[in-house]
C-alpha cells in the first residue's frame, strides 16, 4: 500500500465554477485567498469603452492550503505545536546526550500524534457517507502514511543514532510497524479451525520470517500436523537458536555477535546441504531464507511489497551487522530487483533512497515538493528537528536566513488564514530569529479586528513582544471602527490608547459640541477616570477639567469651581466658540449673594470677555457661528461682571476694616 502514490500528486484539479471566457485574472487576498475573475486591464490606447461583448462576470474565491484547517488536522497542528514549543525550550536549556534523548523523544511524540491523527482519519474515511469527503480523507491519509514511513526511517538514520552504528533492530521495528499483513494473516490463521490447512498458512510464515518474527513463525509451525517430524523439530531448533540483537541488549560487541551469527548460519547451511528438509519444500525454502540465499529473496520480493522491506529482510539474514553508511550499496540492488519487474520508482522511493545516501537536503527538497501538497507541516517540523540534531549544515541564504527558518515561515504563514490557528503560527514565528518578527508584524497588521475580544488578544500579543507601533495601529483602527458606529466613548478610549493626538482632539471637539447642544455630559465614566491620559490633547484636558467644574459646582464647592472655571479661561484651553458657554456657567456664580469671584478674578473675566468681543467685531468665522441671541447675552454678562466687581470691591474693603 505504501509503494503507491497519492492522488493529486501529479495533477490536482480544482472544480471551480470558472470563467467561461479565456481571460482569467487573479488577485491575492489575505493568506491563502485568491480571487479569480475574467476581465481585462485598462487599455489606455483604446477609445473609452471596450468592445460591447458582455462577459459573464463571475468571481471565484479560491483558497489554498486548507488541508490543515479541517477538524482532524487541526488537532495535529495544535498538538504538535506543544511538542515544538517544548523542544525549542529544551534546545535552549540542555546539551549533549540529554538533548539527544530529548530529540528522540520529540521525534517520537510527533510521530505518535501523527499516528493518532491517521487513525482518526481512517475511522472517518470508513464512516463517511459523502464520497467526496471520503476521498479527500483517503488522500490525506495516504500522505500521512507516507510521512510516517519517511519519518520513522529518518529517525533511525539521523536522530536516534546508536553509538555502535548498528541499525538493523530499529529497521526491523520500522518494517514491522508499517507492514502488518503478515501479522494480520497469522491472526486469521490462528482463529481458523484447522490452521495448517489455511490457504495462506505458508505465506504468513514467510511474511513473518522476512520481518524476523521468529517466535510467531515457531508458533505457526507448531500447528502443523507434521510438527513432530524431525525436519520440523530441526527448523524449530534453528529458529530458537537464531542469534538476535534484542536478546543481548548490546552487551556484545558487533564482532562477537557477528561470530555467533556466522556460527549459526553455518549450521543452517550444513543442515540444508545434508538434505534434512528435502521432504518438505516449504521448510527447505524457509531454511534457505535463514541461510540468506540470494535467489530465494528474489522469489519472495512480492511478499515484501517494496524494495526497502526487501532490503531490511535481506540484511537480517545476510548481513545483520550492517552499518548505516553501507546501507545504500545494498539498497541499490534491492531497487533493481523491483525495477526489473517493472515497478515504477516513485517519489517516495527517491526520498528514502536519498535518506539512505545521507543526502538530507535532497530528502527535504523532495518531501517539500511531493508531500507538502497542502501543508508544510511535515517538512517544517522535520527540518527543525534535524537542525537541532546538527544534521543540517547551517547554510545561510542570500538574505541571512536558513532552511529551517524558511520552512517554518512557510508553515506559519499557511496557518495565518485560519480563524484560530493563526495564534499557533505566531508561536512558530517567535522561533524564527531572522524574519520572525517582521512576519509577526505583517501578520498582526493584516489580522481582521472583528471584535473587541480579538483586538485585545492581538494587543496582548504585541505587548508581549513590545511592538509599540502595532499596538497603536490596532487601537487607531478600533477607534475608527467605534467612531463609525457612533460609539464615541469607546472610540475615545481607543484613540487615547493609540496616543493619537489629532484623532483624540477631533473626537473631543465632537463631545464638547454635543454638550453645548444637549447640556448633558455623556461618557462620564471615561472622562472621570482618565488620569494623566487627559494631557494627551489640550482639548481633552479642557473637557475633563470642565466636567470637574460641573462636579464641584453641583457639590456646592463654589469657590473651587469658580477658580477652576477661571483657570480654564485663563489658560485658553477652551475652544473660542465654547467661551460663551463658560461665561454662561459663570453667570450664576456672579449672581450669587456671596462674593465668589474676587476683584482680581473679575478683572480677568472681563478681560476674556473683551477678547471675545474683539474677535466677534473682527468678523472671524467664530462670529458666524454665534446667534444674535448669544451676542445679546454677552451684554448681559458685561452687566453681571460689573455688578460683581462692585460687590467684590466692597466686600474686600469690608474684610480689611474688620
Amino acid at each position: 500500500m505504501l509503494g503507491s502514490y497519492p492522488k493529486g500528486a501529479y495533477a490536482s484539479a480544482k472544480n471551480v465554477e470558472g470563467c467561461p471566457d479565456g481571460k482569467l485574472q487573479a488577485i491575492w487576498g489575505l493568506g491563502n485567498q485568491l480571487f479569480a475573475f475574467s476581465g481585462s486591464t485598462p487599455d489606455t490606447r483604446s477609445k473609452g469603452r471596450p468592445a460591447e461583448n458582455r462577459v459573464s462576470s463571475d468571481i471565484c474565491d479560491v483558497r489554498w492550503n486548507t488541508e490543515m484547517h479541517t477538524f482532524i488536522t487541526r488537532k495535529l497542528v495544535n498538538e504538535t505545536h506543544n511538542v515544538f514549543v517544548m523542544l525549542q525550550g529544551q534546545v535552549a536549556s540542555s546539551t549533549g546526550s540529554n538533548l539527544q534523548s530529548q530529540m528522540v523523544m520529540s521525534s517520537k511524540q510527533y510521530r505518535a500524534i501523527l499516528k493518532a491523527c491517521s487513525m482518526e482519519l481512517m475511522h472517518m474515511a470508513e464512516t463517511c457517507e459523502d464520497s467526496d469527503e471520503r476521498e479527500s480523507c483517503e488522500d490525506q491519509l495516504q500522505i500521512f502514511e507516507m510521512i510516517q514511513l519517511i519519518w520513522g526511517f529518518c529517525q533511525i538514520l539521523f536522530i536516534e543514532v546508536t553509538p555502535d552504528g548498528l541499525l538493523l533492530n530499529q529497521l526491523l521495528d520500522w518494517i514491522k510497524w508499517h507492514f502488518t499483513d503478515g501479522k494480520r494473516l497469522a491472526v486469521d490463521i490462528l482463529h481458523d479451525e484447522v490452521p495448517a490447512e489455511h490457504p495462506a498458512y505458508w505465506e504468513a510464515i514467510f511474511r513473518l520470517l522476512l520481518q524476523g518474527e521468529v517466535d510467531s513463525v515457531r508458533k505457526l509451525l507448531s500447528l502443523n500436523n507434521s510438527n513432530q517430524n524431525e525436519a520440523f523439530l530441526s527448523v524449530d531448533e534453528l529458529l530458537r537458536k537464531m542469534p538476535q540483537w534484542a536478546h543481548y541488549h548490546h552487551a556484545l560487541s558487533a564482532a562477537e555477535f557477528d561470530m555467533k551469527w556466522r556460527h549459526w548460519r553455518d549450521e543452517c547451511q550444513r543442515r540444508l546441504e545434508e538434505g534434512h528438509y528435502a521432504a518438505f519444500p516449504n521448510l527447505e525454502t524457509l531454511v534457505m531464507v535463514l541461510c540468506g540465499d540470494e535467489n530465494v529473496f528474489t522469489e519472495m520480493k512480492d511478499m515484501c511489497g517494496s524494495w526497502y522491506h526487501l532490503l531490511v529482510s535481506k540484511m537480517l539474514y545476510q548481513n545483520p551487522t550492517v552499518r548505516a553508511p553501507d546501507l545504500h550499496y545494498h539498497a541499490e540492488a534491492c531497487m533493481e530487483e523491483f525495477s526489473l519487474s517493472g515497478t515504477r520508482i516513485g517519489e517516495l522511493d527517491n526520498i528514502l533512497l536519498a535518506a539512505i545516501q545521507f543526502d538530507i537536503h535532497q530528502v527535504i527538497k523532495d518531501s517539500s515538493a511531493f508531500l507538502s501538497t497542502g501543508s508544510w507541516w511535515f517538512v517544517s517540523h522535520f527540518t527543525d528537528l534535524l537542525h537541532h540534531c546538527g544534521q543540517l549544515d547551517t547554510q545561510n541564504l542570500a538574505y541571512g536566513s536558513n532552511l529551517r527558518e524558511f520552512l517554518l515561515l512557510e508553515y506559519a504563514s499557511s496557518l495565518m488564514s485560519h480563524k484560530s490557528l493563526w495564534q499557533v503560527g505566531i508561536d512558530y514565528l517567535d522561533y524564527c530569529s531572522v524574519f520572525g518578527r517582521t512576519y509577526i508584524t505583517q501578520f498582526i497588521n493584516h489580522m481582521s479586528l472583528d471584535n473587541e475580544k480579538k483586538a485585545h488578544k492581538l494587543l496582548h500579543i504585541c505587548e508581549e513582544r513590545n511592538m509599540q507601533e502595532e499596538v497603536q495601529t490596532i487601537c487607531k483602527v478600533m477607534g475608527m471602527k467605534s467612531l463609525r458606529r457612533g460609539k464615541l466613548g469607546a472610540a475615545l478610549s481607543w484613540f487615547l490608547r493609540s496616543r493619537d493626538v489629532t484623532a483624540t482632539s477631533k473626537l473631543t471637539e465632537r463631545l464638547i459640541m454635543e454638550y453645548s447642544k444637549t447640556g448633558q455630559f455623556e461618557y462620564t465614566d471615561i472622562l472621570d477616570n482618565l488620569g494623566p491620559a487627559m494631557f494627551l490633547s489640550n482639548r481633552l484636558t479642557f473637557l475633563v477639567k470642565y466636567r470637574e467644574f460641573h462636579k464641584l459646582y453641583e457639590s456646592g464647592e463654589t469657590n473651587k469651581a469658580a477658580s477652576l472655571l477661571l483657570s480654564l479661561l485663563e489658560a485658553r484651553l477652551a475652544p473660542r466658540t465654547f467661551w460663551i458657554t463658560l461665561f454662561k456657567d459663570a453667570t450664576p456664580l456672579l449672581e450669587s449673594e456671596k462674593v465668589i469671584f474676587n476683584s482680581g478674578q473679575t478683572y480677568v473675566l472681563m478681560h476674556c470677555l473683551e477678547e471675545l468681543r474683539h474677535e466677534l467685531d473682527a468678523k472671524t468665522d467664530i462670529s458666524q457661528k454665534l446667534t444674535d441671541m448669544e451676542k445679546d447675552k454677552l451684554d448681559l454678562l458685561q452687566l453681571c461682571l460689573t455688578r460683581n466687581l462692585s460687590k467684590a470691591i466692597k466686600a474686600e474693603g469690608t474684610v480689611k476694616t474688620s
Binding site: N15, V16, G31, R49, T66, E67, H446
Partner: protein
C-alpha cells in the same frame, strides 16, 4: 468539514468587463470596478459568504482601478476612470450603515487635474501618511495629500511628476524601513520600443522635497501593464514584478546607505538593479501581477487566459508552481494514480467535474504548495 476548503463562485453582476478587484487590508471586504461605470463593495459574512453591500455609478466612463485605504483612516477607497478623474469614496458613518445590510458610500472628492484618462490610483503605505498617487495617459504622476485625516474632502496636489511617457500603472514600494526613502515605480504602455525603458523609478528626497527619477529599467521596452513591489521584510533589496510582454522580476538594491541614515541631502540614491527572473510561460501579454501578504508567492495573469503562481525556493530561484485555467475544459489528461488499498473499495468512483470547471494543473516545482482537490460548489 472539508467543504470549507473549497472555493466558491458568486456572480458579480457587473454589466460589463470587470477591470479590477481588490481586497481590503484584512481580506474581509472587496471592491470591484467595471466598464459599466460602477463600483461594488462586497462583504464577507460570518458564514464566509460574499454579499454585495453597495453598488453605485462612480464615474462617467470605464472605472479602471480601485484601491483600499488603510483602515486606520476609516473605510475609504479611491477609484480612477476614463472620465479623466480619480475619486475618493468614504463609507458613511452612523445610522445608515447600521440599518440593514446596505452601506452608503459618498464621494469625498474628485481629483480633476488630469486632462486624460486616469489609469491607476494607489494609496501610499500607511507610514507615509494619507497620500494618494495617480497616473494618467498624459504622462503625469500626481501625488495628493489629505492634510486632515479626519476630513477627506480636502486633498491638495503635492507633486506632479512628468514622466515623458504615457503612464499605465504605478506601484508604491511598501517597505516600512526608515532607511528606505519613499519610492514609486511607474509603468508606461507606450508601444514604441524606441522610446526607451518603460519602467521608471522615482524616489522622494526629503531635503529637496521633490520626487526624482532614480532609475529607468531599460530592459523593459515593451508596454507595461502592471507593476507590483513585493513586501519587504528587511531584506537588503526590493523585488519588483513587471507585467509586460512577459513577466519579469527585478531586484533593486540600494547601494551605499545600507542600514545607515538616508543618503545625504541632494545626492541621488544609487541602485544595483538586475533581472532575477524572466518568464515567457504565458506566451502572450501579461496583464496583471499580485503578491501575497508575505511576498512569497506571486500570481500573474496573461492573455493566454491562465493564472500562474510563482514561488522562490529557499535558494531564491523562482518557479511556476500552479497554473489555473478558466476555459472550462480539462486541458490535460489527468494522470490517474494507481489503485491503492485505501481506495480499492471505490476506485471506480472517479469524480467527473461539472461542466465549466477551472483546471488547476500542478507543476513540479520546489518548494511548492497545491490546492486541495475538488471542492467546487455552486453558491447561487
Amino acid at each position: 468539514m472539508f467543504r470549507s476548503s473549497g472555493s466558491k463562485t458568486f456572480p458579480m453582476a457587473h454589466e460589463d468587463l470587470i477591470h479590477d478587484v481588490k481586497y481590503d487590508f484584512h481580506g474581509k471586504r472587496m471592491a470591484s470596478c467595471s466598464s459599466d461605470h460602477s463600483v461594488k463593495i462586497w462583504d464577507c459574512d460570518e458564514e464566509d459568504q460574499w454579499n454585495c453591500t453597495a453598488a453605485w455609478k462612480a464615474h462617467s466612463g470605464s472605472v479602471w482601478r480601485v484601491t483600499w485605504c488603510h483602515p486606520e483612516f476609516g473605510q475609504v477607497i479611491a477609484t480612477c476612470s476614463f472620465d479623466r478623474t480619480a475619486a475618493i469614496w468614504e463609507e458613511l458613518l452612523g445610522e445608515q450603515s447600521r440599518e440593514g445590510k446596505q452601506s452608503h458610500w459618498v464621494r469625498r472628492t474628485s481629483l480633476v487635474d488630469s486632462r486624460t484618462s486616469v489609469t491607476d490610483v494607489k494609496f501610499a503605505p500607511r507610514h507615509l501618511g494619507l497620500l494618494l498617487a495617480t497616473c494618467s495617459a498624459d504622462c503625469v504622476v500626481r501625488i495628493y495629500e489629505a492634510h486632515d485625516v479626519m476630513n477627506l474632502s480636502q486633498w491638495s496636489l503635492q507633486h506632479e511628476i512628468q514622466c515623458g511617457l504615457s503612464c499605465s500603472c504605478l506601484a508604491w514600494n511598501p517597505s516600512m524601513f526608515r532607511s528606505h526613502l519613499p519610492m514609486i515605480a511607474v509603468g508606461s504602455d507606450d508601444p514604441s520600443p524606441t522610446a526607451g525603458g518603460k519602467v521608471h523609478i522615482y524616489e522622494y528626497s526629503d531635503a529637496n522635497r521633490k520626487w526624482r527619477k532614480v532609475e529607468i529599467i531599460s530592459m523593459v521596452t515593451d508596454s507595461v501593464h502592471d507593476l507590483a513591489f513585493a513586501p519587504n521584510f528587511g531584506k537588503s533589496y526590493h523585488i519588483l514584478a513587471v507585467a509586460s510582454k512577459d513577466l519579469s522580476l527585478f531586484s533593486i538594491k540600494p547601494i551605499g546607505n545600507l542600514g545607515k541614515e538616508p543618503v545625504s541631502a541632494g545626492a541621488i540614491s544609487k541602485f544595483d538593479m538586475h533581472r532575477i527572473a524572466e518568464f515567457t510561460e504565458h506566451d502572450s501579454k501579461v496583464w496583471r501581477v499580485s503578491w501575497n501578504v508575505f511576498g512569497t508567492v506571486l500570481c500573474s495573469s496573461g492573455d493566454d487566459g491562465c493564472v500562474r503562481l510563482w514561488k522562490a525556493n529557499y535558494m531564491g530561484s523562482w518557479k511556476c508552481i500552479e497554473v489555473m485555467r478558466g476555459n472550462g475544459k480539462r486541458s490535460e489528461q489527468q494522470l490517474e494514480p494507481k489503485t491503492t488499498i485505501v481506495t480499492a473499495s471505490n476506485n471506480q468512483n472517479i469524480r467527473l467535474p461539472p461542466p465549466g470547471i477551472m483546471n488547476i494543473k500542478r507543476n513540479s516545482g520546489w518548494p511548492s504548495f497545491s490546492t486541495n482537490a475538488d471542492k467546487g460548489k455552486l453558491y447561487y
